[in-house]
Symmetry: C2
Subunit: 314 residues, 2 copies
């Protein structure tokens, strides 16, 4: 119970660098001694220092005998950019290490935990695995599926419209929902829109939140003339482990058709449009039975008078 609580704190820290650490995972770490936090760390932008190194530096001498809660197995490999975290933890005299998930990177993959045990440290694995996998979704998508973790954002009326038939689309959702959508942008390495949306709407696709302006992600356009001609081409995007697809209806449908959407962000305003432009073009569905069981509601909340629903791919 207490282990799960401290791991929750480490997971919270890992979220701070989501979208900024590719190709490294966004790890979070908490050092606890005598029931108090003595060090906190998260993977820094660009991937270094690692979360454990940052937490140990903060704790200093207080690391001795502390318990380390870390969302991913500490690395076992030396790098030109720093020593292995397993060695750092052993040297610092940490007494116990609690790990959420093993590192699938072949250079670590069990070797980190083994090195800690060899150093006489008590190691516990498998605490809060599912939340950890969700918190480092980009890293795991890249490892397991060789492509970024893809979130599709849709902002619609209650009847699924994204614009009047005339094209007017500003604004369907309110300021709270739009602010939340900007925060989501800051959690992605890149945002993608279709060529038509890019040319017609000229979206700025930046993060317009006070203090987070510098977190605006890379902008990408899906275009038959460009490097990204098809959704499958996202596999080749370097430094992008979290991709946010923002539309329009054809682009959203193209990603769904190719089965590369992992998460839906559905912002819904309490308005009816009626006969408006639909959020989604044809996704190649030929019978309804095939549509069922694909999505699972994972979160929902009010944002002003709008409602956010988050669906995870099953």
């Amino acid at each position: 119970m207490t282990d799960a609580r401290w791991m929750g704190a480490a997971l919270g820290l890992s979220e701070r660098s989501r979208g900024r650490t590719a190709p490294n995972p966004n790890v979070g770490c908490v050092l606890v001694r005598d029931g108090r936090v003595v060090g906190r760390g998260w993977t820094q932008p660009g991937g270094r220092p690692h979360a454990e190194a940052m937490a140990l530096a903060q704790a200093g001498e207080k690391s001795r005998g502390a318990t380390c809660y870390v969302t991913l197995e500490p690395c076992a490999h030396l790098s030109p950019r720093g020593p292995a975290c397993a060695d750092l933890l052993a040297t610092a005299g940490v007494g116990r290490v609690v790990i959420a998930l093993g590192d699938p990177d072949p250079r670590t993959n069990g070797a980190g935990a083994a090195r800690l045990r060899e150093a006489g440290i008590d190691v516990v694995e498998g605490i809060a695995e599912a939340p950890a996998r969700a918190a480092m979704a980009g890293f795991f998508a890249r490892q397991a599926r060789r492509r970024p973790f893809v979130t599709l954002k849709l902002a619609t009326s209650l009847d699924g419209g994204i614009a009047l038939a005339s094209g007017e689309s500003r604004w369907i959702t309110g300021p709270e929902a739009r602010a939340h959508a900007h925060l989501e942008r800051a959690r992605h390495e890149a945002i993608l829109v279709g060529r038509r949306t890019w040319e017609i709407d000229r979206p700025s696709l930046d993060v317009r939140l006070l203090g987070l302006e510098a977190r605006s992600p890379r902008r990408l356009v899906l275009s038959s003339q460009g490097d990204l001609a098809r959704p499958a081409d996202i596999a080749g995007l370097e430094g992008v482990d979290h991709l946010l697809v923002e539309g329009g209806a054809e682009t959203a449908a193209a990603f769904l058709r190719e089965g590369v959407v992992d998460r839906l962000l559905l912002y819904r305003a309490p308005v009816l449009i009626g006969g408006g432009k639909p959020a989604l073009a044809d996704i190649g569905l030929t019978d309804l039975a095939a549509a069922h069981g694909r999505w699972r509601l994972s979160d929902t909340r009010m944002l002003g008078s709008d409602r956010l629903e988050v669906y995870a791919s099953n």
Copy 2:
């Protein structure tokens, strides 16, 4: 606080006869003595006996000195079908009467409460007014707007589709949502669909819930050739204070265009259709600003893997 709680019980009873009492209101009543319920009543199908008469009959001698919680002001008018409830309460020796809402019927409209006070009974008014107005929505719509209270039901995918482009529409929502929709049918005096839906889908529009088969409401079809050519014609429907509009997209739009929808029942399945048939045809919206502020989320719940949202008209 206690008054509000007992009134809540009376409101629960009033729901038992929603959709079965038109043109009478579906009133609920609880008689409480020494902190215990001694009688419960609700308007019986067809409108008589009234809730107070039923509760008094159940309580018998225990009515003496009891407090009566009733969702609508007791009637002051004699009828060939029974005496005035205000007189019944006075004769039974009730000590106190708590009323949620005054009766707008000109034959009562304050006269019921006055008659009780003249008989030396302590009368409290205005407890739980808003919930009482919602529980007897049909009666109040008829009194204030001279038409039934109209609920529009939509069952859609996340992207607002009600069928594949091919027309396939069975099933989008699951068995729990469909059972709930059948329960809603039982709370309405009539269900309406458009002529095309009637001819193409041949919906049975009955209540297929064990024990409630007899609660299937009257079926109506909106058709330019019939008595109900336009949504406004519902004003002339006798014995219908709650009307459920079940589609299709053109009929739903026609009711919204004429501004006669009071409540939306939105059943949403966690599926994406993409390029499907939209839930709503053109409702005559010309700018988005005009769409805002019209609807307010009043209830939401999961029904299996589907989600129900209820919106009230502002």
